[in-house]
Symmetry: C2
Subunit: 350 residues, 2 copies
Amino acid sequence: MDNSSNTPPKHGAKLTDTHIRLAHGNGGVYMRELIERVFAAHLSAQAAGLDTEADAVQVAALPGAMYISVDGFAVTPLEFPGGNIGSLAVHGTVNDLAVAGATPRYLTLSAILEEGLEVAVLERCVVAMAEAAQAAGVMIVAGDTKVVPRGHGGGIYFATTGVGQTDPGLQLHMNNIEAGDVVLVSGSVGDHGAAVMLAREDFGLHGDLLSDSASVLPLVKALSGLSGVHFLRDPTRGGLATVAYEIANATGSCLRLQQNQIPVRDSVSSICEILGYDPLYLACEGRVVAVVKADVSAIVLQRWQQLPAGKDAAIIGRIESAEALVLLETPLGGERVLEALEDDPLPRIC
Amino acid sequence: MDNSSNTPPKHGAKLTDTHIRLAHGNGGVYMRELIERVFAAHLSAQAAGLDTEADAVQVAALPGAMYISVDGFAVTPLEFPGGNIGSLAVHGTVNDLAVAGATPRYLTLSAILEEGLEVAVLERCVVAMAEAAQAAGVMIVAGDTKVVPRGHGGGIYFATTGVGQTDPGLQLHMNNIEAGDVVLVSGSVGDHGAAVMLAREDFGLHGDLLSDSASVLPLVKALSGLSGVHFLRDPTRGGLATVAYEIANATGSCLRLQQNQIPVRDSVSSICEILGYDPLYLACEGRVVAVVKADVSAIVLQRWQQLPAGKDAAIIGRIESAEALVLLETPLGGERVLEALEDDPLPRIC
């Protein structure tokens, strides 16, 4: 090829556009440049074999049963205290695999970018994605980019699919849950929801509030091999209350929570009081709810509290063989039924 | 639970909303209803074990090496002659796996829906998706739905990730391509791009033009076990010209195409002439380009022409050990260099 303007950029050239345009999604020279300069540049250090030319990527087979999970991300703003849509997109799918008892191995990434997006914002999100993937020990093995016209997107929408392999030390299923089981949470609830809300509007209430967005793998791995761990789930959209409701509904049991045992940061309580939200319905992105046999609950608590991510872990309730509902015992000794989430307290939280 | 308005809909109840609202993406009752009534209702017949409660789904391990591919879909309009975004989202990822020499087994689906989308449109797309998956023998094993506010989406954005297993009868890689190899295409080019363009604007030129959106698995499987099949690719965004350019660029060889051998429907030629597009750059969604050893090219052509999807297959060019470029021989004996696609001839085609 000659060096005319039709020549594709050579490896190592800079991406000269500062903002995404439609041509970055058309399958041609501009798209290849974007993929190489932004996505592959940051993600391929971590996935040495990343083949940006291939339609499909060959990966090593996983022994035993496989787990698959998918999650889409449309959070606004794209960047928030404690993370961005890039780190969130890794943690979300890694955590879905982790709480199913799987060790995440491979991730794929679909990016739907909006014309006019700042390339610098995209790059920061991809860097955070690479760091999160590295920390979780998962490889981003395939990607796809589309660009939609200005006014038809949210800057960045990501979707990640994860493939993992069974951890034989974890036999988790909702069907394992029995009356008498104890319910724990690995840390304070509602941090992510509240942090995103604060990043979205300026309430003059920032303080030290950060999203809890993180991989929960260390929390899950700490329980591997421990008999009596019946079920794990990460409370994301709909928060702790929604997980509690799903457990009650699926098992036909009563889940009784003690309100004064549920860890909620003061800053989260404050913002919820002002705006009329209930922190139990706000998303977490780095917490685990565990349902375990009563006689191992102290061990689970101890193992979690020894980890930085689990220092605020607490026993928050128990399963009873009553009708399927979620009861919240209030500090004053009363109790109320926690209802399933209907209308959206806070859209676009993940 | 009592029968108050907070009770979740029982299985079998109807989705009463006719349009998507933000609450359909919040993790609560409305989202569960949407997933059960629209997604699971159509997709679970085809994936009997689909667990709409689980964060991650366990699937049988695949023997041998695995292939993974991901594709995002933002086509407008959502429905077009010959398909819709649902069938396209299956075919796109199935085809990426197929041309890599893999047999698709599992798909995941991320749906980013826009507030205000008609549920009936979504349902038609999900029905088409289920039919396409069934035909391709692939199971949709996991899904995720997000809802973005009106004015921040395109009605439906889908992303599909596919996991496949190696077909030992196909050893395909761009590195296999050698000078002297013959280039074939399995059918007419540009049908999908032209059909979407016609669906988007009313040019008074509809005729019989349909998207070629289809699984290419039958075309690929017809070549399994045949020695000398070096490389396959499906020409999507950027069309045949972009695949030709990628082959030339990656192999450092000249790809010489014969214009009068490349099948282009009259209706596609007409619309391209009127609007100034080149059909060689328009997307196909159900065609395969093959690069094969010269001495098996007649067998490949014959096997393809015996299939309904391959009846218009043709030998369209050859690989030469000259410099890396794509030459198009014109019917009058001249030749011109086909350039890499730069600006977008037709955005949001897939």
